[in-house]
């Protein structure tokens, strides 16, 4: 289990924690459904915080608990495959682990499916030029592309009977636009088939028993600031509930206060020379590394405090430990899934 930064450290951090410009916590009065009970979970986060790691671990955790899970790569960067060590994903889902299916978003394929299944528009022959036109139109008319993407996920939940659909969503700078698209389109488009489509999508996205957003951050300055801003924007601009914040890469706490005094004494010239003799080597770097670890954790503790103050207290914070491992891929995904499971109380 991740080592929770505790009260002692909170005291260390308290004076540096509150900037004057921090937004007030947001308040979402809707009940909080447990994460794994939701059917549609969007996972977002600032670049470099481990968004894809958490999304892949969440899906693996849910499937290991007997759920039939679909994970969708919305960014189409092709990164997700490495987390399960499977071949690159396609629009058509494929089973990558028992009970866990994966797909990659593709706007053209989504449009084709959308026209055929939902609007019952017969698509004969080449759709290429039309899809390309829509791609441009998606560029010109915000919301159209997003509707195709979010619509596909909603549709998978409604029609395919997944226990859970996990979306490795765009980074936090982009996610609000995507989640707000159904409303935006509802506002721009008064009639037409898409209007009736956005109505049921909105209903699903607004229901916290079904849909939730999981934000991933690390206890560092910019990720925390961005997460607080994201929480406020999600509340104001979308109908989706923030279901939790994952604090990734939390460093272990080395010492309590008294042990730290011992450490400082140990690092003094006399004791250090004695230690060098006793172990027959240079213990300086070993103590230096511990000092670095302590300072790193302390700097991070101030950001954690800021995060706690800036997020609605009703939103669960889930702590994942920093992984001191040389492994990549499925092994890491498993480890993170294990830690996530412990944090969720399984």
């Amino acid at each position: 289990m991740a080592d929770r930064p505790d009260a002692a450290e909170a005291a260390d951090a308290a004076d540096a924690a509150h900037g004057p410009g921090d937004p007030a916590p947001t308040a979402d009065a809707r009940p909080m459904t447990p994460l794994l009970d939701r059917k549609l979970v969007f996972v977002t986060g600032k670049g470099g915080t481990g968004k894809t790691t958490v999304a892949s671990a969440l899906a693996l955790l849910a499937s290991s608990r007997g759920k039939r899970v679909l994970i969708c790569e919305a960014d189409a960067k092709g990164e997700l495959a490495a987390y399960y060590e499977c071949p690159p994903m396609a629009f058509k889902e494929k089973e990558v682990q028992p009970g866990l299916f994966a797909m990659a978003m593709d706007t053209e394929a989504s449009l084709r499916e959308y026209l055929r299944l939902q609007l019952r528009v017969p698509v004969v022959g080449r759709i290429g030029p039309v899809a390309k036109a829509f791609d441009f139109l998606g560029t010109a008319a915000p919301g159209v592309r997003e509707i195709l993407t979010v619509g596909k996920f909603c549709w998978e939940v409604r029609e395919k009977g997944w226990d859970m659909v996990v979306v490795d969503a765009p980074a936090s700078g982009h996610i609000v636009g995507q989640l707000a698209a159904p409303q935006a389109v509802n506002g721009l488009v008064k009639v037409g088939l898409i209007r009736s489509q956005t109505d049921w999508m909105l209903e699903m996205l607004s229901d916290p028993a079904i849909t939730g957003l999981l934000a991933v951050c690390t206890p560092e300055e910019m990720p925390v600031t961005e997460t607080i801003e994201l929480a406020a924007r999600v509340e104001q601009e979308t109908t989706v509930q923030l279901a939790g914040v994952v604090v990734n890469r939390v460093l272990p706490e080395l010492f309590g206060r008294k042990e730290e005094a011992v450490f400082e004494a140990l690092a003094g010239a006399g004791p250090l020379a004695e230690l060098d003799t006793l172990v027959d080597g240079d213990a300086g770097p070993v103590l230096e590394a511990a000092r670095l670890a302590v300072t790193m954790r302390r700097t991070r503790a101030t950001h954690l405090e800021r995060l706690r103050a800036g997020i609605d207290p009703g939103v669960p914070l889930l702590y994942l430990p920093y992984l001191f491992t040389r492994a990549h891929g499925l092994r890491t995904t498993r480890q993170v899934a294990g830690s996530l499971g412990e944090e969720l109380g399984y």
């Binding site: 915080t49 636009g177 172990v279 080597g281």
Partner: protein
């Protein structure tokens, strides 16, 4: 190219390039790379170093700086306008710059508006476009417009010939390459067939064979009203196409100019590093100048040695015995600290922590050794244990990459 020989020799006129020499010879430096690796601070530190050491007038154009860094640069609430970093900030850092450091933040909406004002043929068209809901949606929220506008703004500033050096931080993109393609994509869009379809008078659309399927489908999906809103917007915009296409091409040429160089920023973690490598390869493939790779947040060298690991293992295995021996010296100042059990715990924790971090440090070292690209300059910045939020912090970082 002349063979590289050590500095200071009479027959060595071409020393190996450094960030110092790179920044002294280029006019535009584009800092790019994956998110969360310290692009903004690296860009700001490079600009600061050039202002301090080269006596140049330098501008750093940042996208989304951390609040405290924005404050330090005097950017708080300044927005789009270029702003000279105040002398007081330099004094506070104990610095006397030979040159000047200017800073500006990129405000996408404001930049779009000024672009429209620049290109609009008359006041009425300008006002109609600025008030159009579709335009507001595109300029304010539409993410890909950031990519283009960042490059456009760079072009505009370069054209003003106000600065010796412009260091630009790139926006976080879905894909690191988006902003490279943005000018071309913009030019493509404004000369595309789709655009011609959109601005055909509405009545004739349904009889035109080429556009009919598109309109049948889009009317059905989006409704006729929305489609005519779109048309109206592009008809308004029509007067500015030529200007936009020409401008986009000029922006593309500037990025390929020999006065421009790219600095790819990354950490040594696997995922961002793969992205950075891919990006560096793409730069080369597009014949753009890959000037440097800056590796941030690298763990210190002392974590790597086998000797250190041996000491740590000894401290862990013999913690209790060592604690008994050390207790008198550790408790020399304060007898309360002489508890052997507590000393043993500290020794074990310290040793474990070293061994843990060594795993990560060795992985990083291997990543660096196997880097798939060879830039002119490869700079490594050690992990700083505190955040960088003022000029002294930027200077500390800058000195690490300088030579």
């Amino acid at each position: 190219m002349a063979p590289r020989t050590p500095k200071g020799k009479a027959d060595a006129p071409v020393p190996a390039p450094t960030m110092d020499s790179l920044l002294a010879t280029k006019e535009i430096v584009v800092a790019c790379g994956p998110g969360g690796v310290g692009k903004t601070t690296t860009a700001a530190a490079s600009a600061l170093m050039a202002a301090v050491n080269h006596g140049s007038k330098v501008l750093v154009l940042t996208v989304d700086p951390a609040k405290r860094l924005a404050n330090a640069l005097g950017l708080d609430g300044i927005g789009n306008t270029e702003h000279k970093v105040p002398a007081s900030a330099f004094r506070a850092a104990g610095l006397k710059p030979r040159g000047e450091l200017w800073a500006a933040m990129l405000d996408t909406k404001e930049s779009w508006d000024s672009l429209i004002r620049h290109h609009a043929p008359d006041e009425q068209t300008r006002d109609e476009i600025l008030a159009n809901p579709l335009y507001q949606s595109i300029s304010g929220r539409f993410i890909q417009s950031h990519d283009y506008i960042a490059m456009e703004r760079l072009y505009e500033i370069h054209l003003s010939a106000e600065y010796d050096l412009i260091v630009v931080d790139t926006p976080p993109t879905r894909n690191a390459l988006d902003f490279l393609d943005a000018p071309e994509r913009m030019a493509d869009f404004f000369s595309s067939r789709l655009l011609r379809w959109l601005i055909v008078p509405y009545r004739s659309k349904l009889v035109n064979v080429a556009t009919k399927p598109f309109y049948q489908i889009s009317d059905r999906i989006l409704g006729t009203e929305f489609m005519s809103d779109i048309s109206e917007f592009f008809i308004l915009f029509q007067t500015m196409y030529d200007g936009f296409v020409e401008r986009s091409k000029a922006v593309g040429r500037l990025l390929a100019d020999r006065r421009t160089t790219f600095v790819v920023v990354s950490t040594l973690e696997a995922t961002p590093l793969r992205e950075a490598e891919f990006f560096a390869e793409q730069l080369t493939a597009r014949r753009l100048h890959l000037g440097a790779i800056v590796l941030n947040k690298v763990l210190p060298d002392y974590l790597q040695g086998r000797a250190g690991a041996k000491v740590a293992e000894a401290m862990k295995d013999r913690a209790e015995d060592l604690a008994v021996e050390l207790a008198p010296v550790v408790g020399a100042g304060d007898p309360a600290l002489a508890d052997p059990a507590q000393i043993a715990r500290v020794l074990t924790e310290v040793a474990d922590s070293y061994l843990n971090f060594q795993v990560v440090a060795l992985r990083e070292m291997e990543e660096r050794a196997n880097l798939a690209v060879a830039p002119e300059v490869l700079a490594t910045v050690p992990f700083f244990d505190t955040d960088i939020y003022d000029l002294s912090g930027l200077l500390r970082l800058g000195e690490q990459i300088w030579d």
